[in-house]
Symmetry: C2
Subunit: 153 residues, 2 copies
């Protein structure tokens, strides 16, 4: 009997960490470029392998092409966050810590002071959870209009 | 017997059009500012009232503060899109058309040529649907790694 795919065992409140592997970054003045999302994805997948509640997924183009590398965090009833300007060498530990803190927040809103510096500086956008698109909408209505402003903090 | 709330009748594949009502835009050199999202939200709610499958919702801060006004579109198994640099007077008809086209796309990816100009120019980010967060994940697995690149079009 074949083993059940991993996704069928997933908890719908789990977090997905998307890593854009498409965006390009110039290498000096050479005219060459690199794709910083590829090694970033590999490193994050390695660091978060076996960590409960977070799946790391490579994705093509988050449309933040001017601020590579870029990630997005979503899942369950959480606000989705898009973070850019990330660098493997500088930010790997911070991204891992930020993803773990996000996992612990049922609404996805980690208190400002507890966010990694690269998440504060690199935030590209945040989006409320859909009030319609999830099965548990009746049990947990979205309070998108009362969520604290990010800009005010 | 009390009437059932509208949300309980909603289809989980419905679209939500979020409009940020927080971000500020300077008025000339006066030092004063306006919040362009407020009238934009009112106009979109009016234009889309009674339109099936799209709910217009005001939200506080999509964290795109430098590109007001800002909207986001999400729902069902669709990619989420965040669009900035929107202006009520210039773009109302285009935003309505873009939202209707988005509603018709099960994956949320409207062909590039069919997108309103303000959606092409104003795109801030797009995020795949969560592979874990929706009830119908087994029936419709996410193909986030094979979605066409936005940048290449």
């Amino acid at each position: 009997m074949p083993e059940e795919p991993a996704m069928d065992r997933a908890d719908p409140t789990d977090v997905t960490l998307f890593v854009c592997t498409t965006c390009r970054r110039a290498i000096g003045e050479s005219g060459d470029f690199e794709r910083p999302g590829e090694p970033l994805h590999a490193a994050l997948a390695d660091r978060l392998a076996g960590v409960a509640g977070i799946a790391v997924t490579a994705t093509e183009c988050l449309s933040v092409c001017k601020r590579p590398g870029t990630i997005a965090l979503s899942g369950g009833r959480r606000w989705t966050y898009v973070i850019g300007d990330l660098d493997l060498a500088a930010h790997l530990d911070e991204i891992v810590a930020g993803a773990l803190a996000y996992r612990e927040a049922p609404d996805g809103i980690v208190p400002w002071r507890e966010r990694p510096q690269c998440f504060k500086k690199g935030v590209v956008a945040r989006i409320p959870p859909s009030p319609l698109g999830v099965a548990d909408v009746r049990a947990a209505p979205v309070s998108s209009s009362t969520a604290p402003s990010e800009a005010a903090e």
